[in-house]
């Protein structure tokens, strides 16, 4: 029984990492632009799919690197074509545009890769290799994804705290007009935020691909989960999104105990709805600060 408990816990943490990364992606773009990018889940799908294709003629690490790079370029291009030149677009307009983008990416992926389910090979070992921790068996890939995600979160933190570029992005988030007055090219910062969140999304998509598989239509589900995580942690707060991601992943994983698997998704959505109704500022957010934000 206790082993089963830990087994579910590990599964929950694995899914939690990918939700956390998508949530952070939402936050990065929300912070610099004030918009929610509904195409966030598509970046994860693009990363996984591109890596699988590249892996046919490149070694695995290079394929992953290439996939992240390609997705970053796509993210930047999307911002430059669809968003950069809009003058003060309304929230409703931005929502609809990013939804449209997500549909186009999904349909393009369907045209390129078809309906098949794909996955990268395990980074070390294979499907059945497992490390044993006191009776709990853990696939090495779980450790890989946990490791990669901690590195991403850490380096993002360092980037925003200590580099000039990161500080400029934060200035842009705090007050866009003041940042522009200080000579910060705010438009480029917005592009950079799309590139960054596309990049980490793609990386997450590659790392978890061996365990969770990739298909052209996984984006919408991931976007809703990621948004739930972003809301749980408090919109705009990247570090809290990590904690919220683990909470959601674990809750979802344990829900299989009481509910049929088919209803797994309704758990996270119910949590999202409940949070939105009861405490839209998030578990760790500040209600007063939330009231001042524009959403």
């Amino acid at each position: 029984m206790i082993e089963l408990f830990f087994q579910y816990l590990v599964a929950g943490l694995t899914y939690g990492t990918i939700y956390a990364i998508v949530g952070i992606g939402f936050n990065i773009i929300y912070n610099t632009t004030g918009i929610i990018n509904f195409a966030q889940g598509e970046f994860v799908m693009l990363g996984g799919m591109t890596a699988v294709s590249l892996q046919a003629f490149l070694p695995l690490p290079l394929a992953i690197f290439g996939a992240v790079l390609v997705t970053m370029i796509i993210g930047g291009l999307i911002e430059m074509t669809f968003i950069r030149w809009l003058v003060k677009p309304s929230v409703l307009r931005m929502i609809i545009i990013t939804i449209g983008i997500s549909i186009l990416i999904r349909e393009a992926a369907l045209a390129i890769w078809g309906e098949g389910v794909r996955s990268l090979p395990y980074f070390t070992g294979n499907e059945i290799s497992a490390l044993s921790f006191g009776g709990v068996r853990v696939s090495p890939q779980v450790l890989w994804s946990l490791g990669f995600c901690s590195i991403v979160v850490l380096s993002l933190n360092l980037f925003f705290k200590y580099t000039m570029l990161g500080r400029e992005m934060r200035a842009c988030a705090a007050n866009r007009e003041a940042a522009a007055l200080c000579g910060i090219p705010t438009k480029n910062m917005v592009t950079l935020s799309f590139v960054l969140s596309a990049g980490i999304g793609a990386l997450a998509g590659c790392v978890v691909s061996p365990i969770t598989y990739t298909q052209y239509n996984i984006g919408t589900g991931l976007a809703i989960k990621g948004f739930t995580v972003a809301i749980l942690g408090g919109l705009g707060n990247s570090m809290a999104a990590v904690a919220a991601g683990f909470i959601l992943g674990v809750l979802e994983s344990f829900s299989i105990w009481v509910l049929p698997t088919a209803y797994k998704d309704t758990i996270s959505i119910s949590i999202l709805l409940a949070m939105l109704f009861i405490r839209p500022s998030g578990l760790f957010g500040n209600r007063e600060a939330m009231r001042l934000k524009d959403f």
Binding site: F82, I95, I99, I103, R106, Y263, D265, F277
Partner: protein
């Protein structure tokens, strides 16, 4: 004022009749099937247009209400109570005239809920769900509202897809026709009743348009526009904004449910794809192309796009077309292509002649 308000309705009636005669004259009566389906989808679109364009509240889960209507009706009218004939509840229902007996394809007796009763129940259920969801959801704005309604749609979709009683991925089939007149005339019933079905569907649309046009030009309509413009100001002026928003939400949900009920009877079945997110987004994109806040523009674009889509002109790019439409319209013409300029031009033209 009065004449100009109802001139479009009259032209709609004329257009509906003209199209039917045109298909008859050119021998392309099979188009009527798709036009009938387009009419039902348009019912959802104009309801959503009232919600998005006038009350300014986005809903990305309207396919959910369509599915609630369709599935309730399908489940109740295909449920066979013949084996429970002697149960007290069934006897009571039979006495009230809610149940109806018929024979299925293989001649065995089926005792199920009468389509009319099922329709009323379906709409009531949709209204109840809209009420329960609407109260908390409509307090939200912008991204939160969009995500919450998207979440609602996803829940309905996964319930429909994951439940054995709703036929899971196969949906529900062999739904009986919906009786309208004595003599076996009803919604559904194959190609012999194509014309009557076409007229019935479009009369429903006309009725909905009369209702909406009157609503928009009334106290309610003005209140809704004030909410769209500046909700805080409307509140300060004493407009009970949350009440009006809830009313609009429930009205559009009821329209979607009615469309779901009749399209299910017309097709003789319903599948989970009717509840999918893509369907909800499709309704949003139709409202966007028609011009937010123009129910006539929405009706025209909905008929045209749904007709092309149902005829299969977009091929495998069906979803991509709607996604592309969304982006292009929102980037270049956020007021829709049948926007205010074109309407002003048309009005001028009408006045001159």
């Amino acid at each position: 004022m009065k004449t100009s308000r109802f001139a479009p309705i009259l032209s709609l009636l004329v257009a509906v009749a003209a199209i039917q005669l045109l298909t008859l004259a050119t021998g392309r009566e099979f188009y009527l099937t798709q036009l009938t389906m387009a009419a039902y989808y348009s019912l959802v679109a104009v309801g959503l247009c009232l919600l998005m364009g006038f009350a300014g509240q986005i809903s990305m889960g309207h396919a959910g209400f369509f599915a609630i209507g369709g599935y309730t009706s399908a489940v109740l009218t295909t449920l066979n109570l013949a084996s429970h004939k002697d149960a007290v509840l069934v006897e009571w229902l039979a006495k009230l005239g809610i149940l109806t007996a018929r024979q299925d394809l293989y001649g065995s007796q089926i005792l199920s809920v009468h389509p009319w009763a099922a329709c009323v129940l379906a709409v009531l259920l949709a209204l109840a769900v809209a009420w329960a969801i609407g109260i908390p959801v409509l307090k939200l704005k912008g991204h939160y509202l969009a995500m919450a309604t998207l979440g609602f749609g996803t829940i309905i979709y996964s319930i429909v897809l994951g439940t054995e009683h709703f036929g899971a991925a196969d949906g529900i089939s062999s739904v009986p026709p919906f009786p309208l007149l004595p003599g076996g005339v009803g919604v559904g019933g194959g190609s012999s009743q194509r014309v009557i079905n076409y007229y019935f569907a479009w009369l429903l649309v006309v009725a909905a348009m009369v209702l909406l046009v009157n609503l928009i030009n009334s106290r309610v309509g003005r209140a809704l526009r004030s909410i769209h413009g500046a909700e805080d100001a409307a509140n300060a002026m004493g407009v009970d904004t949350s009440q009006y928003k809830l009313f609009t939400f429930m009205l559009s949900a009821a329209l979607a449910a009615i469309a779901g009920v009749f399209l299910t009877h017309f097709n003789g079945g319903i599948g989970p794809s009717e509840a999918s997110i893509m369907k909800s987004i499709r309704y949003v994109s139709i409202v966007a192309v028609g011009g937010m806040g123009s129910i006539w523009g929405t009706l025209i674009m909905s008929t045209v796009l749904n007709f092309f889509s149902l005829r299969g002109y977009f091929g495998t790019y069906d979803d991509a077309v709607f996604g592309g439409i969304l982006i292009v319209i929102m980037l270049f013409a956020p007021d829709g292509i049948i926007g205010s300029d074109l309407r002003r031009m048309l009005r001028k033209l009408v006045k001159q002649t």
